[in-house]
């Protein structure tokens, strides 16, 4: 068989499988863009949290780490922290179940990362006739899949405490299970009205439905139609990310938390997972309640409001849409941090009471009322 035949075969295969090859390249590019952005934001948040909290408390915050004399407002602390984590001793307790102990940080990190695959982070782009949607997995049931996968993260917290052979870790993981599982119910219940209003169980459907306007000029965002849902979902998101004011799981002063025995990069997995969770919930809040990548009044034909319309270039529109969801995500990540550094910790029984006695009935009521209105009008 000569080279020419192979060559011609390859060309034939390329012609036959052209859409598949293009799809593969497209998917890899999208994974690179989204996960690169998420990882970068989560990394910057680790030092951003210290910096923002410092500003809130009239301090300067981290500003010492430098490379070649440049401190860059303390941004190099991300690198310094990473190097410190890698260089630390990797400790394995004697009583621990070695396999599950190692698996716990991975389990708490991977499902959260996987959820991002379902998230549409832009509308679509048209390059030389090839159309690509900014969504890695396009599923009709993406809302339910997201909650299914993000609820797997509780197993990370659960395994870490149970398998470390430490009683403080056990206490922490019991607290984590109690609050995370109960608030997952509330979280899903608070999202159901949103799904009903936009009549779509997929994230891209919910977002494109939010592009319309109520009575001509108010954007049809979730925050305007379902403010109660927003409050409940935001509270549940705070609990799910296990941060103050719901951080009895960690409760630094009494029990260190479910990751007492985890050190080095094992601990970094939990910590980084927490920040990725913040990014995830900020993205979900901006998608469900603030229109995701929608820019108000911007559609394919450009900005339109009533009779006025300004045409916008396709590529500028794509950039505006990508910026829209990025800005919303960053703002909500900052709000997560602001809330943490403003409020004191809830007592353990107060958290459970807040869930089952108040948020749960309110969200069910909200669901019923929404169902009534959706059916009636």
């Amino acid at each position: 068989m000569s080279l020419d035949i192979i060559k011609s075969d390859l060309i034939q295969y390329f012609i036959i499988y052209k859409p598949q090859i293009f799809y593969l390249i497209e998917t890899f590019v999208k994974i690179g863009i989204l996960y690169g952005a998420v990882m970068t934001l989560a990394g910057v948040l680790t030092v951003g949290e210290r910096k923002l909290s410092a500003l809130m408390q009239d301090r300067v915050g981290p500003n010492r780490a430098y490379i070649l004399g440049f401190t860059l407002w303390g941004l190099f602390h991300v690198v310094a922290d990473g190097i410190k984590m890698i260089m630390k001793e990797d400790f394995m307790p004697k009583n621990a179940n070695k396999i599950l102990f190692t698996l716990a940080p991975i389990i708490s990190l991977v499902p959260i990362l996987f959820v991002f695959a379902f998230i549409p982070f832009g509308n679509y782009i048209n390059i030389f006739g090839y159309t690509a949607r900014f969504e890695i997995i396009d599923s009709n049931l993406s809302v339910f899949l997201i909650f299914a996968f993000s609820s797997l993260a509780v197993y990370g917290a659960f395994l870490a405490g149970f398998t470390s052979g430490n009683n403080w870790g056990l206490l922490g993981s019991i607290r984590a299970q109690a609050q995370m599982i109960s608030y997952e119910v509330v979280m899903v219940l608070s999202i159901l009205p949103v799904i009903m209003i936009y009549s779509s169980p997929s994230l891209s459907g919910i977002i494109s439905a939010q592009g319309e306007n109520i009575s001509g000029f108010i954007p049809k965002w979730g925050i305007i139609l379902q403010p109660l849902s927003f409050l409940i979902f935001f509270t549940a998101a705070l609990v799910e990310s296990k941060r103050a004011p719901f951080d009895v799981v960690e409760g630094e002063s009494e029990i260190i938390g479910y990751f007492v025995e985890h050190s080095s990069m094992r601990f970094a997995g939990f910590m980084f997972g927490e920040y990725i969770e913040i990014v995830l919930f900020s993205m979900l809040i901006s998608i469900f309640f603030f229109g995701g990548w929608q820019v108000p009044y911007l559609s394919d034909s450009g900005f339109t409001l009533g009779n006025i319309s300004i045409p916008v270039n396709h590529y500028i529109k794509v950039i505006l849409e990508l910026l829209s969801i990025s800005v919303k995500t960053v703002i909500f990540s900052c709000i997560f941090i602001f809330i943490r550094w403003t409020l004191p910790r809830f007592r353990y029984d107060h958290i459970t009471k807040l869930c089952w006695n108040y948020l749960m009935p309110i969200s069910v009521l909200n669901l019923v009322v929404t169902a009534f209105f959706v059916r009636a009008f």
Binding site: L55, D58, R59, I339, T342, L343
Partner: protein
């Protein structure tokens, strides 16, 4: 009998019990601090020590970096009597004595202070019979990663070169018995 204490817990009213209003109130406070500090960073009162120093108030400058006072001709007032090295509780002063050319007194051939050990107690100043060592420079020793590097190069080790000096615009002191003798000897020699 078990001692008990009754707590008067304030009952929350409706707006307090739904948390939202109180959370917004709290956020207003923290956000005010955040935005004021973000846009006017000069309002943050943190001093980046050791690059920045606050001016020392009152007599605080009398417990600052050591120096050895000098005579008219530039020779040290120190006569290497070892008083300071003896009284020093942290043993941070090291002196090697030698004879001067006039055979009247001694002088320190080596005078080292290890500032990483010094506790700034000021006992050396009190003990000095010559009023030679003093802690009135007004400088504060900054933090350093290397205690054996010279003070001038960012370390914590003081030698003769850094210790023997006048303060800016200082009139030469003539107090101390041996100091007076030595000054008189110098005057006689000049005559």
């Amino acid at each position: 009998m078990i001692r008990t204490k009754k707590l008067d817990e304030k009952k929350l009213n409706f707006w307090e019990s739904i948390y939202i209003v109180e959370i917004v109130k709290g956020l207003v406070v923290t956000m005010r601090h955040f935005f004021i500090n973000l846009f006017f960073p000069s309002r943050i009162i943190t001093v980046s020590y050791p690059e920045e120093n606050l001016p020392l108030i009152g007599n605080a400058k009398l417990k600052s970096l050591h120096r050895i006072k000098l005579r008219k001709d530039g020779s040290p007032k120190c006569v290497a009597c070892m008083m300071c090295a003896t009284i020093c509780p942290s043993k941070c002063i090291y002196i090697e004595a030698d004879e001067t050319e006039n055979y009247v007194e001694k002088y320190p051939k080596v005078f080292n202070i290890d500032m990483s050990k010094c506790v700034m107690c000021g006992l050396c100043v009190e003990a000095c019979p010559e009023d030679a060592i003093s802690m009135d420079t007004g400088e504060i020793v900054g933090g350093s990663y290397d205690r054996f590097r010279n003070y001038k190069n960012g370390g914590l080790f003081l030698t003769k070169n850094e210790l023997f000096r006048h303060l800016p615009h200082e009139t030469i002191s003539k107090s101390g018995a041996a100091n007076r003798l030595a000054n008189k000897y110098l005057e006689d020699k000049n005559d």
